[in-house]
Amino acid sequence: MRLVARNLRWLLLVFLLVAASGFAVSAQAGEPQQGGTLVVAMPAEPANLDMQGSTLNYIRYIAWHFFETLFTPDENFDPIPMLASGYTVSEDGRIYTITLREGILFHNGKELTSEDAVASVKRAVDRGKMLGSFNILDVRAAGKYAMEIELAEPMGLVINALALSRTSVTIHPKEAIDEAGNDGNITDYTGTGPFKFVDWQRGQYVLLERFDDYKPLDEAPNGYGGARVPYVDQIKFMFVTEPSVRAIGLEAGDFHLAWPLTPDDRDRLESDPAVNVYTSAPWMYSLIFSNSSSGLGGQLQFRQAVQAAVDCAEAMEGAVGDPGLYRLDPGIMWKETAWYSTVGTELYNQADPARAKEILFRMGYDGEPVRIVSSTTEQPLLSIALIVKQQLEDIGMTVDLQTFDVATTKQVLLDPERWDLSPLDSSYRDHPLMLYRISGGLPIGWEDAGRDALVQAFWLEQDPVKASEIWDAIHGMYYLDVPIAKLGDFFDPIGVRTEVKGYVNMPEFFFWNVWLDD
């Protein structure tokens, strides 16, 4: 009996120990944990990692893990402090004083001060990015942890410009700015981000590792901002051009994330229990650009006829196919952003050949060939070009579709004598500031004094309600003047292994707050 009792005590002890360890394991499962190398398969390799030098998203998806900005968009795409702790604006609206968070270290151990912030912002201004259009008189230090931006006239969008992912006013050590100069690219990848640059094997990968001295914000993650905690030891961005290889590698577990997936791979991987497939919105939209400066495109009635003839549903279905990967939406700014508008959108997706023919008749169209220029390798652009060509021929236009490779297409589009229409896609913007013909850039044409006055007022307006009203008026002009004919939004599917935890489905992916639970 005594023997049994003694054994029972040991058995009970063992049982309790096993139960406790099991409880500990289950408590730890799902908790963030450090460790592992996250492998990301991307379709192309960037030319450099200088976010200030380019708007390319390939650069940003890698570099914003080690470079940071003063402000960053939250989940509503509104700017929130990142390296800045806050800002004030002078009474006349011309001087923005931005205070920096103290104790922020660069990856080389140097503390971030206003000297670095001033040098970085000045470079962004001098390189003619968004801030270059703000008529900035001076950027200067106002103490060790404060800086001032002085404008020639009051503007309400400075903080937005500092936050936007495409303006990428990244903050670098002054020494790195001096080394790069205005004309050269940043090649010193020292930043303040949660990860630091380790290696770049051209043609293969970029490797980052966790920055252990990183200080996350003491607040919850919020969109691209809030706390950014680096959990994984390393991130490896691999350049995998072939889409099938990205999908197979994801299935095999060689990649943790594969972007983008083809619609066929998406359908297949949705049934794979080891993979989550996301479509993130907003992403891009397809549209038809008119050469509004000359030729047929320079005539409003021609553009109105195109707008009336185009069947957006047919174009998007033919171009994208999978209904889960596109939506018909008329907004020039994306539905998920605070700047979404529906003014003028009764003219969207008319699909009215009869009306289009009537407009052509009133215009006196004489059969002059309509030159549509498209690249052969960018989908869904080529498919859209083919579909729109047919739709325009159905209303009696003579269409000359000219296709080239990407580089040649872009060269042709710079020459207003060579084209009338071109399908293009536009990646999403946080703010109308970055839209075509608001900030400048392609395409050519659409010179309108009324539009210019509205845009000028938009830039200067500091009251968000009034700014929204001005934007609505500009939005209406897109539909009345038809410099572009929007077709619809589309999305890229992204595959993520289930062992990747903490992933947030934002339009542009990032890997802070992400860990591996193998």
């Binding site: 380019s54 043609g203 297409t409």
Partner: protein, 315 residues
């Protein structure tokens, strides 16, 4: 002999000069440039102009040509436009290892498989082994390497989990580690080479096996395997070697697609990216590098003929 050498060297230099001029001219007339690749499609006209000025793309053509010739004389093939600050020579040399290794392994696979299938088909002419070998050879010639590569990845990486999907490890990481990444691409590339070699090996061996001296060898009482291996294969390899030599060159060309599929950072993928991104300097440099190597190898072989065969005298 000296006169022969001088003439050959002068001919090689003239060839290099002509290729350099053609390379430059071709790059100059190709529309588009690297600006949009580097700056993004939302680059303004001002951004593009500044970029072109920084890289001398707006300079007059005769200025750019003189700069090109001057660089060549100094052994400087220029700097890549898209890979900022990287010298073309450095980029090309840095990408040689994967391409050379891939071509070597693919050739080993292709030659050994090709000769084996060809010999088996010849000695078992008309039998099942002959048909099977020739069907495999035909598949090797017909199946695109791209498609074969993807299916090899499906089988060995996804289904079996034996090998990585893509990527590369340099020799400095260990030979076996490097081999792990090169097995599938080498198989994909070597299989097509094997098909070509197998057909030629079979045809050549069949011809040799029907020669009178083969009948003599058999009548002397030699075993059949000795007749085939010692007398047949050795004699049939001479013309087959010619095909093998050509196929090795073709493997280098096929490596371009294979490197893109398997994410191998070789000269092939460098060339593809340079073309797609309009990196004129890099394209010119790669073209010149290949031309110089080819010219140099041909010059060496020409000179070797003169040494090996005293009858070759043009002095």
């Amino acid at each position: 002999m000296l006169g022969y050498v001088i003439r050959r060297v002068c001919g090689a230099l003239l060839t290099v000069f002509v290729v350099a001029t053609i390379a430059f001219t071709l790059m100059s007339i190709i529309p588009g440039d690297a600006a949009f690749y580097v700056l993004g499609k939302e680059a303004t006209g001002g951004d593009i102009t500044r970029f072109r000025e920084q890289h001398g793309l707006n300079d007059p053509i005769h200025v750019r040509l003189a700069r090109w010739y001057g660089g060549l004389l100094r052994g400087d093939l220029g700097e890549s436009i898209t890979q900022t600050g990287e010298s073309v020579v450095g980029l090309v040399l840095g990408r040689l290892e994967p391409t050379v290794l891939l071509a070597t392994f693919a050739s080993i696979i292709g030659i050994s498989m090709g000769v084996l299938f060809g010999v088996l088909a010849a000695v078992r002419r008309g039998k099942l082994l002959d048909f099977a070998s020739m069907i495999l050879a035909l598949l090797g010639i017909s199946v695109p390497g791209f498609w074969l590569g993807l299916n090899l990845i499906l089988l060995f990486s996804l289904r079996l989990g034996w090998l990585p999907t893509a990527g590369y490890a340099p020799i400095s990481d260990g030979f076996l580690t490097t081999l792990k990444y090169l097995v599938l691409p080498a198989l994909a590339l070597g299989f097509s080479q094997a098909g070509v070699i197998a057909r030629m090996a079979r045809a050549n061996l069949l011809q040799v096996l029907s020669e009178d001296y083969m009948t003599t060898a058999r009548s002397k009482g030699l075993r059949e395997w000795r007749v085939v291996v010692v007398h047949g294969i050795r004699n049939s390899l001479i013309p087959t070697l010619g095909v093998i030599g050509i196929s090795v060159v073709l493997v280098l060309g096929g490596a371009i697609i294979t490197e893109v599929v398997f994410v191998l950072p070789g000269l092939g993928s460098l060339t593809v990216n340079a073309i797609m991104n309009r990196d004129f300097t890099l394209m010119q440099g790669i073209l010149m590098f290949v031309a110089i190597i080819t010219t140099g190898v041909n010059l060496f072989i020409d000179l070797l003929y003169g040494v090996v065969d005293p009858r070759i005298r043009y002095g």
